[in-house]
């Protein structure tokens, strides 16, 4: 933070932070001194480190200077308006689900449909939960920050901690199974200025609890936004969670997201991360397999076109023996898009019998597109099975020829093969309404895709 512009930015932040703390202190969260302490220490970290540059190994391929120039106008409770019909258009085709809606980072009770819940289950706004059940949150909140590791707790995560206003809070007590999926919509609808929203989510799964959570990010037509989101997930012994993150914001918007997971004994999480929108997108998924028998599945798809920049960082810590991780990420880059993948697996001392596999495949469709991939392994135990693979390639000429020889035009043939490549990830999504809509959206992005769309919609109707 040396240049004059940075100094001005720092002063702005300082003023904003003071105002934010004051507002919280006089507001309804005044008794939560631990929360203020988290915010203060996160803000101190931000002031100390400043924004990352490409000299940071962690940001080697992603330049955030365009984001830092946005001015960071924080959304406030007045930014809470949306037309119901516009919202409905964005929703997944789901019946029977628990819906939470956040408009520009503000919880909208009006549009949310939480439905009926068992006793002790909490699904709702984090702000409300901080008022009603702070004891559930205090111990679990912001755990990753303690690690003080720049990769896990980078400056944008700290900014979220310092400035977050609200987010989703999900608490599933021991032995409770929530059958219906929990769908969280984050909609950016404000188009006068570029708003910064910092959703903060916390998901706690009790022993043997089960649930599916879908985080879906959207922007209304023409809306440009900066979303800086953090989700913390902790699963107790034997819990099972399916977590989806679908990012379909507008291609001028910025999105930086962190998902921090801590898995206890024999718990299992399936994470699906789909990035389709955004001008600059950065996703970090940091997993701590903190109990024996814990298992994480990481699936990911990123598609970029135009001048999109998509960066996916994943880090899996095998901290205990007999843990398993399986990662499968695919990227499709066209136009002048740039994709970044960095998947790191660390097998810590004594985490014997670890089984870790990782695969990253990329399809480069244009000479102006670029992919930078870096699969990493750090292993400090010997009785392990670890492998990773990364490939970069193009569509198979023989396959294209086959399709052309059957009368498909070049665009359709190309799109069909591209779609098949991407669908390898999407088809792993178990929850049908999301899978179908994503297939439809992914297919719809491709040139000459009418045929694919037609087939998909007829499949949907059947």
């Amino acid at each position: 933070m040396s240049s004059p512009q940075d100094n001005i930015l720092a002063e702005n932040f300082h003023a904003a932070f003071s105002a934010h703390q004051d507002a919280n202190a006089v507001g309804d969260l005044k008794s939560l001194s631990w929360l203020s302490a988290h915010r203060q220490s996160a803000f101190d970290q931000f002031q100390k480190e400043g924004f990352p540059t490409r000299h940071h190994e962690n940001w080697k391929y992603t330049d955030v200077s365009r984001i830092t120039k946005t001015g960071f106008i924080t959304a406030n409770p007045t930014h809470n308006a949306i037309q119901t019909d516009e919202l409905d258009k964005l929703k997944f085709n789901t019946e029977n689900c628990h819906e939470l809606v956040f408009i520009n980072g503000q919880f909208s009770a009006e549009h949310s449909d939480i439905g009926s819940l068992d006793d002790q289950v909490v699904i709702g706004s984090l702000r409300d939960a901080l008022k009603n059940t702070p004891e559930l949150i205090e111990k679990r909140f912001n755990q990753f920050a303690k690690k003080n590791h720049s990769r896990e707790n980078h400056v944008f995560a700290a900014l979220n901690t310092a400035f977050f206003h609200d987010g989703a809070f999900i608490y599933v007590p021991d032995n409770v199974v929530i059958e219906e999926p929990i769908v969280i919509y984050y909609i950016s609808s404000h188009n006068e200025v570029m708003l910064t929203t910092a959703p903060r989510n916390l998901i706690i799964m009790g022993k043997n609890a089960q649930a599916s959570v879908i985080e879906s990010f959207h922007g209304l037509k023409g809306v440009v936004s900066f979303t800086n989101t953090i989700t913390e997930i902790e699963t107790e012994d034997g819990a099972v969670l399916e977590h989806y993150k679908v990012q379909q914001e507008n291609t001028d918007s910025f999105h930086i997201g962190g998902t921090h997971l801590k898995l206890h004994r024999n718990s299992r999480v399936e994470s699906h991360s789909i990035s389709l929108g955004g001008a600059i997108v950065r996703n970090d998924i940091v997993t701590d397999l903190a109990g024996e028998g814990a298992e994480i599945i990481l699936n990911g798809l990123y598609m970029g076109n135009g001048r999109q920049h998509v960066d996916n960082h994943t880090l899996v810590n095998h901290s205990k023996p007999h843990t398993r991780s399986d990662e499968y990420y695919r990227g499709v880059l066209d136009g002048r898009a740039r994709g970044v993948f960095n998947g790191k697996v660390i097998v810590h001392k004594d985490a014997q019998k670890t089984d870790a596999s990782q695969s990253n495949a990329n399809l480069l469709l244009s000479d102006h597109a670029e992919i930078d991939t870096k699969p990493e392994l750090e292993i400090y135990a010997d009785d392990v099975k670890c492998s990773h693979g990364a490939t970069v390639g193009q569509l198979d000429k023989n396959m294209l020829f086959y399709l052309r020889s059957r009368g498909l035009d070049a665009d359709t043939a190309k799109s069909l093969l591209t779609f098949a490549f991407a669908d390898e990830v999407i088809r792993r999504i178990k929850f049908a309404p999301i899978r179908e809509q994503l297939e439809f959206n992914v297919g719809g992005r491709l040139p000459g895709s009418d045929l694919i769309k037609a087939n998909l919609s007829s499949a949907r109707q059947n």
Binding site: D367, E370, D372, P375, L377, S387
Partner: protein, 497 residues
């Protein structure tokens, strides 16, 4: 290696587990080449400043442009920071505590033949198992032996000269072929390339120079033996190999060093240049003192090696067996500039006790139809930390570029580490890049299978490790493959060889 097999027997009798028996053997395999030859050295006082550089240059009677080149490098080095990105840990190096020049004193103006070489020196080579006379007669290998910093004996010069090949010490080349040196020096590794390359450029004392003229196939394998001898003397070698159009050369480099307790810095620079249709094969066996079993002492080996496939259809192939050094920091790389050029990298890196290795390669694809292959095998034992760090970059201009990378790690013991950090950057949509990595330990099933057929534990581990490294060993020239296996046996397992 009788003492090692005795150790095996003892531990087996005590019914120690397989792994423990192996690890014990590793521990007990003492560094075979540890001895100090007592030769008077012409050493300048420790410290580094412009005067020291002027002194080195003056001692070597260098032309003004080279001194200026050194000073530029030094001034640039002063502005640089020690790189910290490597996955290695060591105490900060005090560059002022190192003596930057050490030449063995010879009687007269330098030896004209082997008879004139200091007998003690020759004895040193004999202890290493590489007697020069024998090699002259048997192997037909020309040896440019670098003892500390000055070449003392060069053989087979005449035969090479007949073919038009220039092969000799760097200082000789500066005197006899200044135009060639000036034309190519620093064109692959610029003086400001990295911290250690800049340091080397400023203070390098000697090295090897090799020039293969147009259309010549070098009549023999070229080889250099490096040794570090005088205490507290960093060794800064500079090697420059130029293969003109259509020429072909295979170059061997082998290293051993005496046992010593203080860390010694070695920062060499190797530059290879291959013009149209030329081929360079560069093989290394590195067995410098790795420190004792407590991690005390050992060589710091911070090397910059880079080949430039400047011409079309050229090929540069690196093969390395890294068994020594306390810390290795080494990335032999290829710049595939010419169309259809080929880069290869085959590596076996072994870390035992407290050794740390951060090694790998860079393949920079610039020309069309360029191809590269990377095969890296890492073996870690006891507390050893072994890192593969590689980069494959496909530039926008590199149509139809192809890369295949495979890095495998073998872990022996539960305190060691194996790490993989590959960077893949692709800017051309016709490129095909594949990277694969696996990590495993010696399978209990494999061991069981061998033992069940009457093969002893030691032999079984031998076989498995040898098989693990086979893909790389087969790339080594015959003469070297034997030594490589021997060194692997000494350094690591006590099981191979």
């Amino acid at each position: 290696m009788t003492s090692q097999s005795e150790n095996i027997e003892v531990t087996t009798v005590e019914e120690t587990t397989v792994e423990n028996a192996q690890v014990e053997t590793l521990v007990n395999a003492e560094y075979e080449h540890g001895f100090v030859t007592d030769i008077e050295s012409d050493t300048i006082a420790p410290g580094l400043n412009e005067d020291v550089i002027r002194m080195i240059s003056a001692k070597k009677d260098e032309p003004e442009w080279l001194l200026q080149w050194r000073l530029d490098a030094y001034r640039h080095w002063l502005t640089m920071d020690t790189p910290e990105w490597a996955h290695v840990h060591h105490e900060e190096i005090d560059y002022q505590a190192i003596s930057y020049y050490s030449a063995p004193k010879s009687k007269g103006d330098g030896p004209k033949s082997l008879d004139e070489v200091d007998p003690k020196l020759l004895e040193t080579y004999e202890k290493l198992g590489i007697p020069l006379q024998e090699q002259m007669m048997l192997a037909g290998v020309a040896v440019d032996a670098v003892f500390d910093s000055v070449s003392v004996a060069t053989t087979f010069k005449d035969k090479l000269a007949d073919a038009g090949v220039i092969f000799g010490s760097f200082s000789e080349a500066v005197k006899e072929h200044p135009e060639l040196v000036r034309k190519y020096l620093g064109t692959v590794v610029p003086t400001g390339d990295n911290f250690f390359a800049a340091l080397n450029s400023a203070v390098f004392t000697d090295g090897s120079f090799c020039f293969i003229p147009k259309g010549v196939r070098c009549p023999m394998e070229l080889s250099t033996y490096f040794r570090i001898n005088a205490a507290n003397t960093g060794q800064f070698e500079r090697t420059l190999i130029i293969a003109e159009e259509g020429s072909h050369v295979s170059y061997l480099e082998g290293c051993t060093a005496p046992m010593r307790d203080e860390n010694q810095l070695h920062a060499a620079v190797v530059e290879l240049i291959a013009l149209d249709d030329a081929q360079i094969k560069y093989s290394t066996v590195q067995n410098w003192y790795p420190g004792d079993e407590n991690g005390v002492g050992g060589i710091y080996n911070f090397v910059t090696k880079r080949g430039d496939c400047r011409g079309v259809n050229s090929k540069i192939s690196w093969t390395q067996v890294e068994t020594g050094s306390a810390i290795t920091w080494k990335y032999p790389s290829c710049i595939l500039r010419g169309d259809n050029s080929v880069g290869e990298f085959y590596s076996v890196a072994v870390t035992n006790n407290y050794q740390q290795a951060d090694t790998g390669t860079k393949m920079i694809h610039i020309g069309k139809n360029t191809r590269s292959t990377i095969i890296s095998k890492g073996i870690s034992a006891r507390f050893g930390q072994n890192t593969y760090r590689g980069m494959v970059r496909i530039a926008k201009t590199a149509e139809n570029a192809r890369n295949y990378t495979q890095c495998d790690s073998l872990l022996m013991g539960d305190k060691c580490g194996a790490h993989t950090f590959p960077y893949i950057e692709v800017k051309n949509s016709t490129a095909i890049v594949e990277h694969e990595a696996t990590t495993s330990k010696i399978g209990e099933d494999q061991l069981f299978y061998c033992k069940q057929r009457g093969i002893s534990e030691e032999d079984a581990v031998n076989m498995i490790v040898n098989g693990f490294c086979k893909e790389v060993f087969k790339e080594l020239p015959m003469e070297f493959a034997v030594e490589a296996q021997k060194l692997l046996g000494i350094t690591l397992e006590g099981a191979v060889g």
